[in-house]
Each structure stands twice: as structure tokens, then as C-alpha cells.
Assembly symmetry: C3
Homo-oligomer: 196 residues x 3
């Protein structure tokens, strides 16, 4: 690559630009404390490389990050509903038992919170290893199912079931995408079967 090939390339060019054969000391810096010690880049080139690399990284995770923030906002909404029902039913912390209405909303929020890290893990693995847009769509669907689950559970215990199955189904799809993405990575399969 150009990074190490620079000096060689320049000497290949039959010394037309002898004054540029080695970059001046002020132009050179070690890339970062953990970079390879033999690796020196001019400042401008380093910054460009960093900008491009960062841009590529953001490009591969922007939708996942958006769905993550939407999920956080949903969790914040659930947490506020618990605070409201605590006030309404006069159940002060640290007590966690009370009228059925409070217990249903409290458990609904606890259940959503419990599945939040699982959801995020699958969203990101599926999005990075299989397909970002597909994973983000599943993520949005999951968040909608979780909203319906919370609303249904707040009305009655039976109301939670249908959206619970939907959210579990979406999680299964995300598991499938993640496993497929990892298999495609580790096992060389015919490429035309999978998105790039």
C-alpha cells in the first residue's frame, strides 16, 4: 500500500523529485501511540485517511445507531409511565408490589428492559455482519411490537400476548440474520446467495 510503498515509489520515479524523497521532519509524525512504530505519514494524509475511515465506519452503523436511539427513547417513555403509575397508585419506591394496574405496568417495563440488551446485541450483529437496512427494519418492527406489548399489558395481562409473540418472532429473525451473517463470514459460501 501507499503507506509503506511511498519511499519505494518515489525512488522508482528516477529521482526527478529528489527534494521530496524523504518528507521533512515537520511534515512527519507518528500516527498514534499504538500505531506501528515504523509507520510515518504526513499530517494531511493521516487526517484524510482518518476522515475516510471514520466516514466508512459511520456509513456502516448509522441506521443501527438511529434505531438504538429510538429504542432508548422508547425505554425512557416506559420508565416515565412507571413513575406516573407509581404516583397515581401511591406506591413509593422501593416498594414493587401494589394494585394490579401498577404491577402490570411495572412488569411490562421490567420485561422490556430485560430484553433491551438482547435486542441491541442482535440488531448490531445482524446489521454489521448481514445487512444494515434489513436489520434496522427488523429493529423498528421490534420497537413497534414492544410499544403494543406495553400498551396491551397496561390494559390487561392477556393484552400482552399477541405483541409478545410478534416481538419474539422479530428477535428470531434477527438471530437468523446474525447467524447467517457470521456463517457467511466464517464459511466461504457462494457469494451470489447473500447481499454484499
Amino acid at each position: 500500500m501507499q503507506l509503506v510503498g511511498r519511499a519505494r515509489d518515489q525512488s522508482d520515479r528516477s529521482n526527478r523529485c529528489t527534494s521530496k524523497l524523504y518528507p521533512s521532519r515537520s511534515e512527519v509524525r507518528c500516527f498514534s501511540t499504538s500505531a506501528h512504530p515504523s509507520l510515518h505519514l504526513a499530517n494531511q494524509e493521516t487526517d484524510t485517511f482518518r476522515t475516510v475511515s471514520r466516514s466508512i465506519m459511520l456509513h456502516q452503523i448509522a441506521l443501527l445507531a438511529t434505531v438504538t436511539v429510538l429504542g432508548v427513547l422508547e425505554q425512557a417513555y416506559f420508565a416515565m409511565q412507571v413513575i406516573y403509575v407509581r404516583r397515581k397508585c401511591k406506591v413509593s419506591p422501593p416498594v414493587t408490589s401494589g394494585p394490579p394496574e401498577f404491577e402490570r405496568i411495572f412488569r411490562a417495563q421490567a420485561n422490556c428492559t430485560e430484553y433491551f440488551p438482547i435486542f441491541l446485541s442482535l440488531l448490531w450483529v445482524a446489521g454489521v455482519f448481514f445487512h444494515q437496512v434489513l436489520a434496522a427494519c427488523c429493529g423498528v418492527l421490534y420497537l413497534i411490537a414492544r410499544y403494543q406489548y406495553f400498551s396491551g399489558y397496561a390494559r390487561c395481562a392477556q393484552g400482552r400476548l399477541a405483541p409478545l409473540y410478534l416481538s419474539a418472532g422479530v428477535l428470531c429473525i434477527l438471530i437468523g440474520l446474525s447467524v447467517t451473517g457470521l456463517l457467511v463470514y466464517f464459511v466461504p459460501l457462494p457469494r451470489f446467495l447473500f447481499p454484499k
Copy 2:
């Protein structure tokens, strides 16, 4: 780097390829909305760079992602065990108290869920900053310990203790790896002491 050095390199080549001195408009596009505005790459080169960068990123996290998915599958297994024991002991949500057998399994799952984000954080920091394979091995060990913890706790409260200490020990190792990895990153130490 080649990215910005392109125009300069080509002019250095004594204009043998004048028609290629500047890429045609159709060949050029802005890399992405967040890239540096002065940075233009031909389409093919951009795609190759993106493919290589993505490949490097995946290479550094593939094992961590695999352990993450295994952990999610384990959590799903625990959650299903809670559903089964709820049916068996006739404890319908939102109730969380019942016969000792139910309470043990419920607490075992709650405890594993509680530590899941902590485990994932340490797994990824240790894997990215210290050594991916070592962190992934610790991760698998942790998941085995957690499975034994759950099975032991389901039998009797004492049965949880030995695997609980094992899983705590693995977490301590992961903390050690993470802290070491971050120290090596921030503090320049003799490199031969640590894996690349």
C-alpha cells in the same frame, strides 16, 4: 496517501497520461455526506476501500460477535425456562412470587440478565483493546459457568454458589484484560510484553 496524492502523482508522471490527469465527472463522487468535502474518489476505488475497511473491521470482531450471539441464545433458553416453570407452577404474570422452585428459577434468570450487559461490555473492550481470541475464550467460559449457575440454582439455592464464583472470576479476568488493553493503549509500554 494515495487518496489525496493521486492528482500530484499523476502530474509527476510527466503528463504521459494527460487525458487521465483529472478523473471525469462521471467517475467521481463525493465519498459520503459526512466525508471531507475536498475528498473525491473514483467509484471503483471507493468501493474497494470500503470493502477492505469493512473486512478489517469484521476480522477484528467476528469472534466477539459469535460469543455475543451464543450469549443471546443462552439468555433465550433461560427466558423459556421461566415460561415453562410459570406454567408448571401456575404463576401467571405479573406475579413474581410463588413456590420456591419458581422463585429460584425466576431469580436465576433475573441475575443472568442483570450481568449480561456487564459481560458484553467487558467482552468487547477486552477483545478490541487486548486480544480477541483470549476474550472470546473467556466469554465461552463465562457462558458455560452461567449455564451451570442456572442449572444449579434451579435445583437448590446452594447449587448456584460454585458456578457463581467461577463466572465472577471470569469477569475479573475480563476486567483485567480490558484495563491492561486500555493502559497499553494510553501509556506507551514496552511492546514485547503484550500481544499485537
Copy 3:
């Protein structure tokens, strides 16, 4: 880019270095199983590129990883406090109700655990998409607020309120940074308004 431009560049150089026109088979390997099949790099160049890319990635997340590990240590401290108060009040698992002192500490830890994944999600999205140092500072502030929350709650239920509002405020700031960072990424805005 150099990666694909190598062969073309070398033929442009009017065959002064014919013996180097194609790298020898031993010098070449496919980058990785998931890299583009047409992409071949010499070993040394691949390793350098990987080292630089890894260094850039670590540079963009090192502070976030540090705050993450600090958060994990804080959670471990909270978990140990619950173990101590269980012994002190003689409340053996799986029981989760007992004297008010135990219930307050138990709920304090449960609440911190509940918000931990939300905090980490926001920390990382804000740090990657907006500004790493700013996000890390908010993260440290959040961890301090959570420590005060835990200590205050352990004393009395009222003692949790002030640091709870502080931690909620910090989370709101992190939400603001995340949303701003994502907006800047998706919507092209005047660049001088935001940090690079």
C-alpha cells in the same frame, strides 16, 4: 486507490520495473475470506493497512471504552453492596423482600442495572457520531451521579431524588448529542456549526 491502482500505476511507469509488474505468488494472499475476491495485497502491505485501520478505530473509541469499564466497575461495587446487605440482614437468595434497608439497596442496584444498557448505548452513539471527549465527560458525570444516587438511596428513599434528577439530566444531554450527531450525519448542515 493504491489497492486496485497498483497494477495500472506500475504499467504506467513504462515498464522500468518489469520484474515487479506482478507480485510473486508468495507475496500475495487473499485479504480474508470476506474480502472482495479480486483484491490481492502483499502480506506486509495488508498488515500495515490493518494496523493503521485498527489504530484509527481504537483512537475513536478509547475514551468511550474507558468510561464503559469504569461503569462496569461501579456496577460491580453496587452488586457487592447488595451481597453485603443480604448477609447483614440475613436475606438469602432467592428472597428479594426484607427490612427497608435491604429493599432500598436492592432497588438502588436494580435501578442502576436497568439504566446501564441505556447509558452505554447513548454514550457510544453520542461519542461516535458527535464528539468522543464530550460524551466521555458526560459519561463520567453520569457515573458520579449514579454513585451519589446509590449512596443516598442506601440512607433513605428521599436521598435518591437529587442525584436521580442529575443522572436523568445527563442522559437527556447524551440523547441530545446522539440525535444531533445523527442529524448532522444524515442531513447535510453547515459544517462550521459542529465539531469535526
